[in-house]
């Protein structure tokens, strides 16, 4: 009966090179309700944009904001799912 916190991380294989990436857009606000599979954010590495979708349903807490630099593996948000 407890809620669970899930991490939204940049997949470590999203792009190949060791390059700087940036969060270009958050499509949802901090503390918003999101459903599994919802488009959450776009990130850009070397002028290529990648989509980040919600891994679970729950309440979003943004960790890394728009225009912040990110690396592969970084946690950019957490999603707290409702108690079972």
């Amino acid at each position: 009966m407890s809620s669970a916190v899930h991490q939204v991380a940049i997949p470590v294989d999203l792009w190949e090179e060791e390059v700087e990436a940036v969060i270009t857009t958050w499509f949802v606000s901090d503390a918003a309700q999101v459903d599994k599979g919802d488009l959450l954010a776009e990130v850009m590495a070397e002028k290529i944009q990648f989509e980040i979708v919600a891994p679970v349903t729950g309440t979003l807490a943004i960790v890394k904001h728009q225009d912040q630099l990110i690396d592969k593996g970084d946690v950019i948000a957490t999603i707290t799912s409702a108690p079972d």
Partner: protein
Amino acid sequence: MAAKERKLTVARAMAEAMAQEMRIDEHVFVMGEDVGPLGGVFGNTRGLFEEFGAERVRDTPISETAFMGAAVGAAADGMRPIVELMFVDFFGVCFDAIYNLMAKNTYFSGGNVNVPAVIMTSTGGGYSDGGQHSQCLYGTFAHLPGMKVVVPSNAFDAKGMMTAAIRDNSPVVYMFHKGLQGMGWLGTEAGATVNVPEEQYTVEIGKAATVSEGEDVTIVSLGMGVHHSLHAAAQLREQGVSAEVVDLRTLVPLDRDHIVNSVKKTGRLVVVDEDYQSYGVSGEIIASVVERDMSILRSPPQRVAYPDIPIPFARHMEQWALPNAEKIVTACLKATQNDE
């Protein structure tokens, strides 16, 4: 519970509008450089090639004269082309098709030929791309009769005005600012990414919008300038000055009534335009107010526009020349402190 958010970037909003209209109208097709598998260098045709294929989403050679002429001809022959010329700066090579054919054929034919083409193009600088990739040239298109000209400042308007533009029987020039698109390498104004309904809708061409109410001074702007103006209005509020921000949204036909009504209320006018200052949009806005009723102005109108110089490449020089919130604040304070 509040309605679920559905924010889109301007780029996604444009693509969604085109896709939805292409699904219901087989006459609509898209043409331009890299609009196909790449999805447009500014992201605004992403997904179209995959859904509609190469017949309706046509990559062209870098031959603007040819594909602009083809679009104008196709429109006169009953199609509804959406044609992109990547940067507004490069229109010079294909202006005959636009100025002498697209804008005039309805008139020349006594109203017997419609030219329902949409020309979309990117405007604006701020990211050091040099003087031939950074201009706005709004006035260049708005000056010549025969074309409607729209400049959305956010994703909601971008979608609704694209749908309206495609359905319009007149040619429409649809100008989008690169800094509002949601492309990371350009930087993106967060205020442009707003909630957008999934279903189709139109935003009427020719209607301005008051995006922030105020009492002391009217700031009139378009595109990226609307966001600079909103940031300036927030700073002015802290200094006790209440600024009203009017987003033109459409340059042709210009919503002069809306502008005049706002200035009637505030008595002061500041125009913000990233296009060159002289012989352009900012002068037209001021003239529109003064011609109607000079007595409503309590102080001389001010402009924050691009100086009459080629756009510098060097970052500190370009940033010096661009409109920004600080310059708008200064202009508004000058307008409100120079009262009679």
